[in-house]
C-alpha cells in the first residue's frame, strides 16, 4: 500500500518540478528580453523622432553651423566640434595622469596601499556629474579666468589654440573637468591590466640589468597595452556623453573656434539646455538628431573599448 502511493506520487512531483523549471526559465528569459526591447525602443525613438530634421537638412546637418530656432534652420557642426574638442583635450590630460598613476599603483605601491588608494580613486568615479559642475563653476572657472588663461596667453599666445578671450568658461575648462572625471576609469582598468602581466616578464627584464623604470616602460606597459588602450576608449566614451559638468562650464556659445579659450557648446549640453523649451516640429527633431549622432559615436567608441578589454582577458586566460 505504502509503496504504491510512493510510486504514484513520484511522476506527479517530477512533472510539477519540470513545469516549475520551465516557468522559471521563461520568466528569466522574458526579463533578459526586456533589455533588448529597451535598446530597440531607444534606437527606434531616436530615428523616428529625428525624422523631420533628417528629411529637411539631410547630411548637410553635420556640416552647417547655423542654429536658428526662429527661421528653423539647424546645423550640428558647432556642437559636434565642441564635443570632440573637449573630449580630445580631456584625453590629452587624463591619459598621462591616469597611466602614470596606474603604473604607480600596480608596480610600485605595496598591495595594501594600492588597494586603499584605488578605493579612493573609484570613489571619485562615483561623484555625480552635477557636483563636478558645481565645483567647477565656483572654483575652477575663477582660477582659469584670473591665472591660468592669462598665463597661457602670455606664454603660448602665438599658437592659434591659446588666443581670444579669457572668460574662464570654454573648451579648455570643460576639457579639464572631463579629464578629472575620466581619470578614475583609466586608472582602474589600466591598473588591472598591468597587474595581469606575468611576474616572469618583470623578473627576466630585471635579471638582464634593466632598471625598475625600464622594466615597467619597455616590458610591462607594452604587454598590457591593449588593456590600457581599452581604458582610454572607455574614458573617451564617457567624456563624449558627459552632460551636466560640461553644460555648466563650456560657455554655451553656438560657434566654432580654433582657440581653446573660447566658449563653445557640446551636443549633450545643447540637448540639456534647449530640449525642454524646444517648440514646433523641426526644433525638437534637430535636437533628437544630435542625440542620435552622439548615440552612434559613443556606441562605436565603447565597442572599441570592449573589444580591447575582452582581448586582454582572453590573452590572460590562455596562459
Amino acid at each position: 500500500m505504502a509503496t504504491e502511493t510512493a510510486v504514484a506520487a513520484e511522476p506527479v512531483r517530477k512533472t510539477s518540478s519540470q513545469a516549475g523549471d520551465k516557468i522559471a526559465r521563461l520568466t528569466a528569459l522574458f526579463f533578459a528580453c526586456t533589455l533588448l526591447a529597451i535598446v530597440g525602443l531607444l534606437v527606434y525613438e531616436l530615428i523616428w523622432r529625428s525624422e523631420p530634421a533628417r528629411a529637411k537638412f539631410g547630411w548637410g546637418f553635420l556640416s552647417s553651423s547655423e542654429w536658428n530656432p526662429v527661421t528653423e534652420n539647424f546645423g550640428g557642426l558647432p556642437f559636434l566640434y565642441g564635443t570632440v574638442v573637449t573630449s580630445v583635450v580631456a584625453m590629452l590630460l587624463s591619459i598621462p595622469l591616469g597611466v602614470g598613476a596606474a603604473i604607480f599603483l600596480a608596480e610600485l605601491a605595496p598591495a595594501k596601499l594600492s588597494n586603499a588608494l584605488t578605493f579612493v580613486i573609484e570613489l571619485l568615479a562615483a561623484i555625480p556629474s552635477v557636483i563636478y559642475g558645481l565645483l567647477a563653476i565656483f572654483t575652477l572657472v575663477p582660477l582659469m579666468r584670473e591665472y591660468i588663461e592669462p598665463f597661457l596667453k602670455a606664454t603660448l599666445g602665438f599658437l592659434p589654440f591659446f588666443q581670444g578671450p579669457a572668460a574662464g568658461v570654454g573648451y579648455l575648462t570643460a576639457g579639464l573637468v572631463l579629464a578629472i572625471m575620466t581619470v578614475p576609469f583609466i586608472i582602474s582598468v589600466s591598473r588591472e591590466s598591468l597587474l595581469a602581466v606575468p611576474r616572469e616578464q618583470r623578473e627576466a627584464a630585471l635579471a638582464l640589468g634593466a632598471t625598475h623604470w625600464e622594466t615597467t616602460w619597455q616590458i610591462v606597459v607594452p604587454y598590457a597595452k591593449l588593456g590600457i588602450l581599452g581604458s582610454v576608449f572607455l574614458g573617451l566614451a564617457r567624456a563624449l556623453g558627459e552632460t551636466m559638468a560640461v553644460t555648466m562650464v563650456i560657455g554655451n556659445l553656438v560657434a566654432v573656434h580654433a582657440s581653446l579659450l573660447w566658449p563653445g557648446y557640446s551636443i549633450a549640453a545643447v540637448i540639456a539646455n534647449e530640449f525642454a523649451e524646444a517648440g514646433g516640429k523641426i526644433y525638437p527633431a534637430a535636437l533628437v538628431e544630435l542625440g542620435l549622432v552622439l548615440f552612434g559615436l559613443t556606441i562605436v567608441i565603447n565597442g572599441f573599448a570592449r573589444m580591447m578589454i575582452i582581448a586582454t582577458t582572453k590573452k590572460g586566460s590562455k596562459r
Binding site: 533588448l36 531607444l42 598613476a101 579612493v120 571619485l124 562615483a126 557636483i131 563653476i137 525642454a276
Partner: protein, 279 residues
C-alpha cells in the same frame, strides 16, 4: 650612462607617484570645498521648508529631497527586479548565442549617455502625458539602473562555486529551487553591493531628469513635475543669485553625503574589495 639611466629611473618613478597623489588629492579638494561652502548654508530649514522666493530667508529644499527619494525609489522598484532576473538568466540559463547578445546589449545600454536616456523617457511618457512627471523620471532612471544590476548580478552568481550547485541538484532539488535556495543566497552579498552602487549612481543623475521629471517649487504627485536634488543643484548653481548659490552648495553636500555613504556601505557589506561598476 648608468648614472643617466638611474636618474631617469628615479625621475619617472617619482612622476608616477605625483600622478597618483594629484588624482587622490582631487577627491579631498572636492570634499573639502563642499564641506566649507555647504556646511555654512546647511540648516534645519533646508530639510523641512519649501523653496522661498528670492529675498525671503528660511527657504529649503524639502520637496526636492522627497522628490529624489520618490523618483529613485520607484526607479529601483522597476529596475532592480528586471535587472536581477535578466542577470539570473545570463548566469544560469544561458543559451550561448542569445546570452552573448543580451550581454552585449546590456553593456551597450550601460554606455549610452544619460542625456539620451532622458530623450527616451520624454518620448515614452512626457509626450503622451502632455507634461513632465515623476513617473517619467523614474522610467528614465530605471533604464540606467537595469544594465548595471544585470551585469553585477551575473558577475556575482558566476562566482558561486559549481560544487554548491551540484550538491543541491544531487539532493534532488530541481533547477529553479537550486537557484532560489542555494545560488542566489550564496551570491547575495555581491548582488546587494551591486544594487546599492547602482541606486547610488542613478540618485546623482540630473541629465535624464531635466525634461522628464522637470522641476517644481511645490510638492508633487507621481504624475506632476517633481523637483529632485541633482536638478535643483543645476538650476541653483547656474542661477544669478548669491542665495541660490549657497543653496546649491548645501544641496551638493547633502547629495555627496548620501552617495559616499552608500558607496562605503556597499564596500562594508562586501568585505573583500570589488570594483565600482563602470562602462
Amino acid at each position: 650612462m648608468l648614472a643617466r639611466r638611474k636618474l631617469v629611473n628615479m625621475v619617472m618613478l617619482t612622476m608616477t607617484g605625483v600622478c597618483t597623489v594629484a588624482t587622490v588629492a582631487v577627491l579631498f579638494l572636492i570634499l573639502g570645498a563642499l564641506l566649507v561652502h555647504g556646511a555654512s548654508s546647511l540648516s534645519w530649514n533646508f530639510f523641512t521648508q519649501l523653496p522661498k522666493p528670492i529675498g525671503e530667508t528660511g527657504g529649503g529644499m524639502a520637496n526636492a529631497i522627497v522628490g529624489s527619494a520618490e523618483i529613485v525609489g520607484l526607479a529601483a522598484l522597476i529596475g532592480i527586479p528586471i535587472g536581477f532576473l535578466a542577470g539570473v538568466y545570463l548566469s544560469e540559463y544561458e543559451d550561448k548565442k542569445f546570452a552573448s547578445v543580451v550581454r552585449y546589449i546590456a553593456d551597450l545600454l550601460n554606455g549610452v549617455p544619460s542625456i539620451i536616456v532622458g530623450i527616451l523617457g520624454w518620448a515614452l511618457l512626457v509626450v503622451p502625458m502632455h507634461g513632465n512627471s515623476a513617473l517619467a523620471g523614474s522610467i528614465a532612471l530605471s533604464v540606467m539602473l537595469i544594465p548595471i544590476v544585470t551585469r553585477q548580478t551575473e558577475q556575482f552568481l558566476r562566482e558561486v562555486p559549481l560544487a554548491l550547485r551540484e550538491g543541491a541538484l544531487a539532493l534532488g532539488a530541481c533547477k529553479w529551487k537550486m537557484i532560489a535556495t542555494v545560488v542566489v543566497p550564496a551570491g547575495s552579498k555581491g548582488i546587494m553591493t551591486g544594487m546599492i552602487l547602482g541606486v547610488a549612481r542613478i540618485a546623482g543623475e540630473s541629465a535624464p531628469l531635466l525634461f522628464t521629471a522637470g522641476s517644481s517649487q511645490y510638492w508633487g504627485t507621481l504624475t506632476e513635475p517633481t523637483a529632485s536634488l541633482p536638478v535643483m543643484i543645476y538650476f541653483r548653481a547656474t542661477g544669478p543669485y548669491e542665495e541660490w548659490h549657497q543653496e546649491a552648495w548645501a544641496a551638493g553636500l547633502v547629495l555627496i553625503g548620501m552617495v559616499l555613504t552608500a558607496n562605503i556601505l556597499a564596500r562594508m557589506i562586501l568585505a573583500k574589495g570589488v570594483s565600482v561598476p563602470r562602462g
